[in-house]
Symmetry: C2
Subunit: 237 residues, 2 copies
DNA sequence: TGTACATCAGTGAACGCGCGTTCACTGATGTAC
DNA sequence: TGTACATCAGTGAACGCGCGTTCACTGATGTAC
């Protein structure tokens, strides 16, 4: 859908400007303080003009959420594509990509993974597709490691009970994932554990000055998350 | 410091009312929208009167942060005190207490563990002492399990490099913790992993309707976090 | 190729709202002699 | 026990600010004939 007419091209450019300005405001003032009037000011336009492009403040928030999920997932995909295909390394590559993007974009990270914005509910139809890309990528990484035989299988494998096993079956079917229940459960632990550590880092929730080298601390965390999956520490170095 | 005079007693009561009302507003409108004027309205008093009790909006936020940390830590301490002293059970008891408090008090949890409130920086001298209570309790739980010999030691034990090992030494000294570096590193992974999963739950970050029984999912997560520490799954059931 | 009409971007004023904070004040409560 | 003074809670008006959203409008751009 290339814009043919000058007017249409100008519209696309303005639309992109609005998202860009919104991103900057997010970074400075936080999501709750995001204001259409302020965006209009920076756009050099009277406040009511923004309504030609965006139906309401909430719609701008949705644009920013989609934009953020997409950039994060693109960063993760790019990192995975650029890394050597060693199946024991996938988690580490993915984890680092998430952390680096989050540290570079703390406000957008906060919009996606922090306190929900009061009074705003993201419409799932729009935010879900980009929103699930990272967890799907993580599950693919785990699936590959499992297929390659680098994950130690627990003996006996932990049993996942109903109704959780039903949810797992649905997930497995939706994404054509070839991993057993116990590994899916571990993958979800790794997922929440990964974002937990990134949030501690980005939101500065370790005590002030507790850790001088948070990158190293994060690498140890990745060791431990790999351990959950049954990766030996040596294999994932 | 019992309040002797009627005026002093009235002041203490009003102070408590302000914190209580602030809590309620937090729950409804979020931290960024917390307003002294709204608190004054609910207190049944003109807006400027609140300044007799609280120097500014930020000071009220600090009161609420301290209040939140204290209640959460009290809940954790109470759960640990009430539970049987099985050292393999401590993590599970603590984790459940955190999750239950968080689900019961999502807005206050968000204030403590969500996106930082823009333009507000919590003063460490006041918020640190209550803020560290949960991680200290977690480390005690781990220390006890280690002393009881229920944690499988890795062979060889992972080496923690400088400068992280220096930070660990400082932490060990400050809290008189008797755990080796590798276990401290694992404890921190468990800490961030625990709060990561609780945030996913409270902030509804799993897909909508992904999991019908999140309590069970959380129990599996606790299994996996126990696994990081070297607790056998059977021992911690 | 030229004209008539439709579409659209942006204007400027207005609506009604809420916010944090300051200030001079009144009147009740507490305290020192 | 009584009086004079100091302390303090709460009032009401004001400051200057920002917000989302609507509406009738002007003038430029696009399109159908």
């Amino acid at each position: 859908m290339t814009a043919t007419t000058p007017r249409a091209r100008a519209r696309a450019r303005t639309m992109a400007d609005i998202v860009r300005i919104g991103r900057d405001h997010l970074a400075v003032h936080g999501a709750a303080a995001l204001s259409l009037r302020a965006v209009a000011r920076d756009l050099g336009v009277v406040s009511s003009a923004v309504y030609r492009y965006v139906r309401s403040r909430d719609e701008l928030l949705t644009l920013l959420v989609v934009d953020g999920y997409t950039e994060l997932a693109d960063a993760v995909d790019a990192a995975l594509a650029a890394a050597p295909v060693d199946p024991a390394q996938g988690l580490r590559v993915l984890g680092r990509a998430v952390r680096e993007w989050a540290l570079a974009e703390p406000a957008r990270y906060g919009l996606l993974f922090g306190t929900p914005v009061p009074g705003y509910q993201a419409p799932a139809e729009e935010t879900s597709p980009p929103g699930i890309r990272v967890i799907v990528a993580l599950m693919r990484v785990i699936e590959r490691a499992y297929a390659a035989g680098v994950l130690a299988s627990p003996e006996p494998p932990p049993v996942i009970a109903h109704p959780l096993s039903g949810d797992f079956a649905a997930i497995r079917a939706e994404f054509a994932l070839e991993v057993p229940d116990w590994l899916l459960a571990r993958g979800i632990s790794v997922w929440t554990g990964l974002f937990g550590a990134v949030s501690f880092d980005v939101f500065d929730m370790y005590g002030p000055g507790s850790f001088t080298d948070r990158a190293d601390l994060f690498e140890r965390h990745l060791d431990n998350l790999g351990g959950i999956l049954g990766l030996s520490a040596a294999a994932s170095e």
